[in-house]
């Protein structure tokens, strides 16, 4: 029995890392303003927006994937736009997976950030204003550094959650080697083909990876708190 992973296993792991990394970066850019707004607004529809952001937490991935597939398909609104822009259709492409995963992992970015921003409170920003910092300036020089542990938690959760995705990937991406066949799908394939040894190896890699990431997260947290 070969201890090393096969080429297609390695490719699926690399694809998984690329997908999770891309989604994390995109969600840092998109999720931060949403979290900031949710943490500070007194608007009446704050509750509704918060609920929409949290929806992927409870929705079956197949339901989310189904709607996204329709939206991004040839007659869906998103699909029409991407076709007009000359981007073609997103389903069964890497970027289709990125978009779907971003929706699916949104709460894992927004909620820790929102909590971190809320914990800062108004005062440090008021102090910054009395020290001549504009709101944007105060955001980058006061709010972001103070919420740094929140950013770390949110990024790690988003990354690991995207790594662990399966249902949405199957709905949107299918199973194209090197394009949409991520590690979780690869394991499924191995099992379907009764290749239990291969499934074991890849599953062990995923298990160890996930454990180490969470271990790091829980070991760092107290230190981060002390440092701030």
């Amino acid at each position: 029995m070969d201890i090393l992973l096969s080429d297609s296993d390695v490719r699926s792991l690399w694809l998984t890392a690329r997908l999770a990394g891309t989604v994390t970066i995109i969600l840092l850019l998109v999720g931060t303003p949403i979290a900031w707004w949710l943490a500070r607004t007194r608007a009446r529809w704050k509750g509704a927006i918060g609920a929409v952001v949290a929806l992927p937490l409870v929705l079956p991935p197949s339901v989310l994937g189904f709607y996204l597939l329709l939206a991004m398909g040839p007659s869906g609104p998103v699909g029409k736009v991407t076709q007009v822009l000359g981007l073609g259709l997103l389903p069964f492409t890497f970027w289709g997976l990125v978009v779907a995963s971003a929706f699916y992992s949104l709460p894992f970015m927004v909620q820790p950030l929102q909590t971190a921003f809320e914990a800062i409170g108004e005062r440090p920003l008021e102090v910054a204003a009395t020290l001549r910092a504009s709101p944007l300036d105060a955001f980058f020089t006061v709010a972001v550094p103070l919420a740094l542990p929140g950013f770390l938690t949110a990024s790690i959760l988003t990354f690991t959650h995207t790594v662990g995705e399966f249902g949405v990937v199957l709905m949107i991406g299918g199973n194209l080697p090197g394009v949409t066949r991520v590690a979780s799908v690869q394991i499924y394939d191995h099992v379907q083909a009764l290749e239990y040894a291969e499934a074991h190896r890849l599953a062990a890699v995923m298990l160890i990876f996930s454990f180490l990431v969470l271990l790091a997260l829980y070991a760092w947290r107290p230190n981060l708190k002390k440092a701030s």
């Binding site: 204003a129 009395t130 001549r132």
Partner: protein, 355 residues
């Protein structure tokens, strides 16, 4: 235009602020009143942290707010010291001091070095705020507010969160600030002690309204206000140390209208001090006899009013140019035949040195 004119009307569900003020743009203006009287809200409106929909604010001729203008907080040339020091925890003391400094362009009256020296925090610069005591933190917060070269310094009960010892540690720095800098200060407090020590101008507030506004000694001697000061009703005098009686450990404090003996506190002759004489420590007599009370002044009844208890009266006395308040029972007032204009001996039992 060396004045600050502030007019704010603000309706919150639980609270109403309705003030129209005109105070000098120099020295310390103290805002005094019980909690919930609107002092802090007034300060926040002045800073632009709270927006009163109907408001006007002019600082030394410059409009900060009126019906057509609204200057946001970060563009107002002010310094703000909050009740809790609120230092940025992620940067050092020096980083805190430089934070605002880096964001101003105009040449400064107060340099960062000067602010550090003035507040005595030179040895703390590399520390993180978490490693400072409460008093040190508040001194850094004051220096940080000074370093942005404010044209108006707003202080919201900067000592309220500190214990007595820490207060005593900071008050001398505030007095130095007052003596050495030309920056007008709005100082919110509910401590008569702090007000007596620091203020030049006094604004008394209650339930969102201004009850009185005027020079400190004059305002404190108003008979319609001391009722609200309760046990702390009294007069403030500016005096100089005239002479020291070494054998008896006493010093003579001269003021416009006479002099008072107080315990020698080691101050040099000629030193200016501020003293407070509480109304309950003043008694009146129509003839002089032997008494343990050493301070006897020649006074004249200026006004008589009701005090908070039906059995008590509050009497304002003119001694030279100075005003004293005396609290006595109505029976005593009646047996002395007190009436406005009557000349009397004013006996002062105790004098509190404020600085």
């Amino acid at each position: 235009m060396e004045n600050i004119q502030a007019c704010f009307r603000l309706n919150l569900p639980s609270f109403r602020l309705d003030v129209d003020l005109d105070v000098p743009a120099r020295g310390v203006t103290a805002f005094f009143g019980p909690s919930g009287s609107g002092k802090t809200t007034l300060l926040r409106c002045t800073a632009g942290l709270e927006r009163a929909p109907e408001g006007r604010l002019t600082v030394a001729g410059e409009v900060w707010q009126d019906a057509h203008h609204w200057i946001p907080t970060h563009k107002r040339p002010l310094g703000y010291v909050f009740q809790e020091a609120s230092l940025f925890p992620h940067i050092t003391v020096l980083g805190n001091l430089r934070y605002g400094r880096r964001r101003i362009s105009d040449a400064a009256r107060v340099s960062v070095d000067q602010a550090i020296e003035l507040l005595g925090i030179g040895h703390l610069l590399e520390r993180r705020p978490e490693r400072l005591s409460g008093g040190e933190r508040q001194r850094v917060a004051i220096a940080r507010a000074l370093a942005v070269n404010p044209r108006l310094l707003l202080m919201d009960e900067p000592l309220a969160a500190l214990d007595l010892k820490r207060k005593q540690e900071i008050l001398p720095y505030l007095e130095r600030l007052h003596a050495e800098l030309e920056i007008p200060v709005f100082y919110v407090s509910h401590s008569p002690d702090e007000v007596g020590r620091l203020a030049d101008h006094l604004v008394v507030m209650e339930a969102g309204r201004v009850l009185a506004s005027g020079p400190l000694a004059e305002t404190l001697a108003r008979l319609d206000l001391p009722i609200r000061l309760g046990e702390d009703a009294g007069a403030i005098l500016d005096a100089t140390v005239g002479t020291v009686d070494k054998p008896w450990h006493l010093m003579r404090l001269d003021f416009s209208g006479g002099s008072l003996w107080a315990r020698d506190s080691g101050l040099p002759i000629g030193h200016r001090v501020r003293v407070r004489v509480l109304a309950r420590d003043v008694s009146l007599a129509d003839q002089l006899g032997h008494s343990s009370i050493q301070n006897v002044l020649d006074g004249r009844v200026d006004a008589i009013s009701e005090d908070e208890h039906p059995g008590l009266a509050l009497v304002r006395l003119q001694v030279g140019e100075a005003m004293f308040l005396a609290r006595l029972t109505k029976r005593a007032a009646s047996s002395l035949g007190l009436k406005v204009g009557k000349k009397l001996w004013v006996q002062v039992k105790s004098v509190a040195l404020l600085q």
